[in-house]
Structure formats: C-alpha cells, structure tokens
C-alpha cells in the first residue's frame, strides 16, 4: 500500500505533539480515516477524537486495528516507533522526519523487509489521494494545488512537488494521486516504486516525476518507465548545483560523475520520458499528450 485510500485505517504515532495535532486535524477534515494515536505517557486518553494508545502493538489489538501508521516523531525516536509499528503488523508506515541517523533508517528497513511492511520516507512530506484522503503535511485541501484529475505525481521534495501540482491545476488538469518519497539517500519507497504504484493506480493516464540530483533512483526508474504505456514527464532539480555540496537534502549531492543531472536526463530520455526544462512547462507538455 504505497498509496493510502479512504478505507485504510491510519494510526498517528506522536499524535499529541503540536505538529501531530495540527496535521491530524487536517487529515481528518480531508477524509483520512484516523483510528487512533500513540503516546506512551498519555495512553487511555482521547486526542483529536480518537483513543491514544501506549504503543502501536496495543493499538493493533483494539477492534479493527490499523493498516498504516504515520510518524510525527523526532529523529532519535523514529527507530523505536517504526519498529513498534512493524511488530504490530502495519502494512505501511509513512516517516516524515528529517535528520534520522542513517544506520537507524537501515535497521528499520531491514525489519520492514522481513515483515513485508512498506515504508514511505524518511524525510517525505507525505502523500495525497485526491478527494479521498492524505498523509503527512501536504496542502491537500488547497484546491488551487490539488484537484481530482488523471495525472499521477511523485516527488522527492515536498515544496517542489507542491509547486508541480499547482502548475498542473493551473493548466486545467488535476491529479489522481501524489506520492512524496523523501529527500534522504536511503528511503523505503523509491522513485521506481512510486512510478509503478502510480502506473497501476485507477484513473491515472499520465505520470509526472519530480526528481533530484544525487543517487541513481531516477536512472533505475527509467528502466521501468520504458515499459509503460502512459506518457511520463520528469523534472530533475539541481542542474545548476555545484558538485560536492549537499543541497539541503542529504540525498541531493553529486560526487564525481555520479548522480549528475546529465546522467539522469540521458537515462530518462532514452526510456521515452519527456524531461522538462522548468516546472512551468508541465502544463504545455500535458496538453500535447492528453488532449488534441
């Protein structure tokens, strides 16, 4: 479950914090089925109209349990919280936190792989299933950014993904779903995983991929894109970035000739993907592909 649906039951770990509370309320308003929260110190209380549990394992014992968990947890607490959700049997976990020690992330990934748990993030802004539900801190409720349509969008960056979605709406199109995968070097749902999920998602006729310099995920996704029957458009951020500098995201760094803009553009174009020079070009590109 890389794309969360209205019927999925969602647990919020860290629900009682300031951000946890604010975004839980937004998710509830939009339609996300929040069934409970976790805070060991406040177990037994009610917060945002849902019961607070001592652990994800406890939350799973309650009638109906939960399908997915979302974490509003500080960096050094993420490993234990995620392992709790994996042990509980979560099908999916969304990790928003940035600056988690990578060895902690790898520990969580190993445990998740063994149990078949799908991880999204870390360092993602979340995902949006338009007019159904959302996870994380995406402005799903802003109708100039998200409008029901037939374009699937995936992005490493939350802010840039938001901009791309706005450009799509202002060009007269809309989205089926948005998947934020996160800006860390090691993440659960990769560019290729997200592309594949959107390819198979109902009502999706084209996919827009927002990538970044660094790593080789866009190159791997290109192999999958080559097998798709739907048009794919890509924008890769960081073409003007100097080598050897981490551009805000830990994953966005060019070392030697690895992870460069040129390498990604070449691989994507060879796979039949249209690479956009700026995010503003997405509207014209969609018009050419989906209308006329």
């Amino acid at each position: 479950m890389r794309i969360v649906r209205k019927h999925h039951r969602v647990l919020v770990q860290g629900i009682t914090g300031k951000q946890g509370t604010f975004w839980t309320e937004r998710m509830q308003e939009y339609g996300t089925q929040i069934v409970g929260g976790v805070n060991p110190k406040k177990a037994g209380t009610v917060h945002c109209d849902v019961p607070v549990h001592a652990s994800a394992v406890d939350a799973m014992q309650v009638d109906g349990g939960f399908d997915a968990s979302i974490l509003f947890i500080p960096p050094l607490g993420v490993k234990d919280a995620a392992l709790d959700a994996i042990e509980a049997g979560a099908k999916g976990i969304c990790i928003l936190t940035e600056h988690i020690p990578v060895q902690d992330v790898m520990y969580v990934m190993a445990a998740a792989k063994e149990r078949g748990t799908m991880i999204t993030g870390p360092n993602t802004a979340g995902s949006v299933t338009v007019d159904e539900c959302f996870l994380g801190f995406m402005p799903a409720f802003n109708e100039r950014i998200f409008k029901k349509g037939n374009v699937g969008v995936m992005s490493r960056s939350g802010s840039l993904g938001t901009l791309m979605c706005q450009n799509i709406v202002s060009a007269g199109f809309g989205q089926s779903a948005f998947v934020g995968i996160g800006g860390d070097p090691i993440i659960g749902t990769t560019t290729k995983d997200a592309l594949e999920a959107l390819d198979h998602f109902d009502g999706t006729d084209a996919v827009v991929m927002v990538g970044e310099i660094g790593g080789s995920m866009e190159e791997e996704a290109a192999d999958y894109a080559a097998t798709m029957n739907k048009p794919v458009f890509a924008f890769i951020a960081g073409g003007a970035a100097p080598a050897g500098k981490k551009m805000g995201h830990a994953g966005a760094i060019v070392m030697g000739d690895k992870g460069t803009y040129a390498s990604k553009k070449t691989a994507l174009e060879a796979a039949g993907v249209t690479v956009l020079n700026t995010p503003s070009h997405v509207g014209e590109a969609l018009k050419d592909a989906l209308t006329g």
Binding site: S155, S159, L163, G188, A250
Partner: protein, 380 residues
C-alpha cells in the same frame, strides 16, 4: 562529517586493527622530532580529500632532516582547495601487497555493505569501473551484524598469500567500528600485507553521518568541520541551509527541492545564482535572518523570492521577510512567486506593505530577476 587520517586511525587501533606508529606534527621542527623517534618515516599531508600522493602531499624521509624538509614543503600546500595545516609522521611499512577494504551505507540494498578488493591503493571508483570482478561485496543485515564466517566467505577463494583469515578478522573489526560510530563510510585503502605477513591499515578514511553526529559529541570534536564561508557559518548558526555561489541573482525559497529548482530556473533564463538559501522545514519562521544573509553577499543585483507552502506557511515566511525588508530598506529589485499554504494572506501582505504583486509563476519571477541583474550589471 569528515575525519582526517590522524583522527580516524586511532579508532581502528582501539578495535584491534594494526596501524603504523604515527605522530601528528604542526611544524617542520615537530616533524623532525617525530622522525627522530620513529626512524625511516612517511610524511603525510592531513586533509580530508583524496589524491594526496599525486599532489605531492606524501613523501618518504630517511632522516629527521629529510622529514623537516618535506614538512616545510607540505605544510601550507593547497590540496583539493584545502590548505594543509598538519602532517602525520608515520613509521615506514614494508609493503608486499595492497588491498582495499571498506564498510559503507548502500542505498541499493538499503543496508550496510562490506567491500573488499585485491586491487588496493587506487580509487574505489576506478576499481569498480576497471575491474568490477575484483570488487567483492557483502550485504549485511544491520540487525544481526557481520560475523567471522561471513567475512571468511567474502574473501574465500582469493589468493591473499595465506592472510585470508587475518584479513577476515580486519573486516569484522572494521564493521564494528563502522557500526559503533555512525559511519556512512569507513575505508582502509590500502590495507597492506607486509613482508613479515602482517596485515596493516596504511590509510583510513572515515565519514560520520551528519545525522549521527549528535550521538557522538566527544568523537565529533576530532572531526574536520566542513569549510564554510562567513555567510555559510552564519546560516549554520541560525539553522538555515545557505551555500554561497558565484552569481549575482540572490535566491530565497522554501524547501531544498524548490530552492534548487529556483537556481535551475535562474540559470535556464541566462542568469547566475548568488546562493542557495532554504528556509523550509523547521526554519520557515526565519525569513528575517535569511533575507539579511542573501543581501549581505557582495555583488548581488536582484533577488527572486519563491515560496510554495506545504508544511511551511507562505504567510509566516512573508511576514518575517517583510519585517526584515522594512527594517533594512534594501535598494534591490525583488521578484516574488507565491503559491501553496497561506498564499492568499501572503499576497495580501505583499500588496499592503510593499505595494507589489507576485509574478504568476517562478519562471516569470526568475526571468525578471535575471533581466534586472543583467541591466544593473551593465551599469556597474
């Protein structure tokens, strides 16, 4: 965070991996004194970059006077853009063979990988390209670790002049050091076999995961902080990611991806970005100090502000920015693009307080900023 050889090697020594005896010297006199104690030595520049040998930063000396002479040449030398401030004086080893060993974070397997090659002494990238069949890799489940049997299996079948078990032992210890210290890369290149059959780490490269630094405050003091400009240091002190670049169009945006893209679009329209400055995430309330920083850079001719609110609210960012603008009253053309959470309030504030309208999108705003910078540049 990078650790230079002299700071990384003691970690190996403590874990039981043999390293040559060495003494750090900051002056030619100290180098001579160290050579007096050690005999025939190697004088090695201490900078956290590769290719030290090719740059002339590694020299052999048989006498203290020789060591002094090499230290005089090497201290103050520029290698990879860094000035050498100290040298490591190390006893010379009898090198029979050179190998490569490393443990690193592997994005492909999403776990640690232990790497070994019989082709030591050269860049790992070169080994991977030129003789990939000679690069052995073991993917590790970080929950259970890397044990002696796995290490022996990794080097099984390789002709290591009978040192297979000793090398397997080094790999296990190397993994332990990697795991205990939040390393993202721990590399021994070369790992040598001496004429006497000893396995010795001749060099060591250690990069600590920046997100793990707070778990190792004492060790982190031994690391070499990234060399930052004055403005970059100011950014770090204010938890704003600021990178100084050589152009004249200042960039202020929220979120790493959006900020990078604003730079790209400035470049696409023929301009040259002056900086990367991101106030997203937890830093989104810091519009004021961010504006001060982008304005402080000399030679800036225009500014493009690109806000796209998701977690970060446009109105909060705009309020901080406008407060700073009213206080600093900069004489600089500024071009806005505003979208996302809190955009309507932000646009209203811009109208009320600066009597300005945002551009319809970041392309238009960036293009206008580039044109303004080019026009101003022509006058100066």
């Amino acid at each position: 965070m990078n650790f230079e050889e002299f700071a990384a090697k003691p970690l190996l020594g403590t874990a039981g991996i043999a390293v040559p005896k060495g003494i750090v010297a900051n002056t030619p006199d100290a180098a001579a004194e160290a050579a007096e104690k050690l005999g025939s030595v190697v004088v090695k520049a201490q900078v956290p970059v590769g290719k030290r040998g090719k740059a002339g930063g590694i020299q052999l000396a048989d006498t203290p006077e020789g060591a002094r002479g090499h230290a005089e040449n090497i201290i103050g030398m520029e290698i990879g853009g860094l000035t050498v401030e100290k040298v490591l004086i190390e006893e010379r080893s009898d090198i029979k063979r050179e190998f490569y060993a490393a443990v690193l974070n592997d994005p492909a397997s999403k776990g640690p990988a232990v790497m070994f090659s019989t082709e030591g002494g050269m860049d790992i990238e070169d080994i991977a390209v030129n003789s990939p069949e000679k690069l052995k890799k073991a993917e590790v489940d970080i929950r259970t670790g890397f044990n002696s049997d796995q290490a022996k299996a990794l080097v099984a079948g390789l002709d290591l002049d009978g040192a297979n078990d000793a090398i397997a032992d080094v790999l296990v210890k190397l993994y332990e050091v990697y795991r205990a210290n939040d390393a993202e890369l721990l590399e021994i290149n070369p790992l040598i076999l001496t004429g006497d059959g000893d396995v010795v780490a001749l060099d060591c490269k250690f990069v600590m995961d920046d997100s793990g630094v707070k778990r190792h405050p004492e060790l982190a003091e031994q690391g070499t902080p990234e060399k930052l400009s004055q403005l970059e240091t100011k950014g770090e002190a204010n938890t704003i990611k600021y990178i100084e670049l050589d152009g004249n169009v200042a960039v202020l945006a929220n979120g790493a991806g959006l900020t990078m893209t604003t730079m790209d679009v400035v470049r696409h329209h023929g301009g040259n970005p002056a900086n990367f400055c991101e106030i997203g995430g937890e830093a989104y309330t810091k519009g004021k100090v961010a504006l001060e920083m982008v304005l402080e850079k000399p030679g800036v001719k225009s500014l493009v502000v690109n806000f796209c609110g998701a977690f970060a609210r446009c109105d909060v960012m705009m309020d901080g920015l406008l407060n700073a603008w009213e206080e600093l009253k900069p004489n600089l053309p500024v071009f806005f693009s505003i979208a996302g959470t809190g955009d309507e309030e932000a646009i209203r504030m811009l109208k009320d307080r600066l009597d300005m309208e945002p551009y319809p999108n970041m392309d238009a705003a960036s293009k206008a900023a580039v044109e303004a910078a080019n026009a101003a540049g022509g006058l100066s």
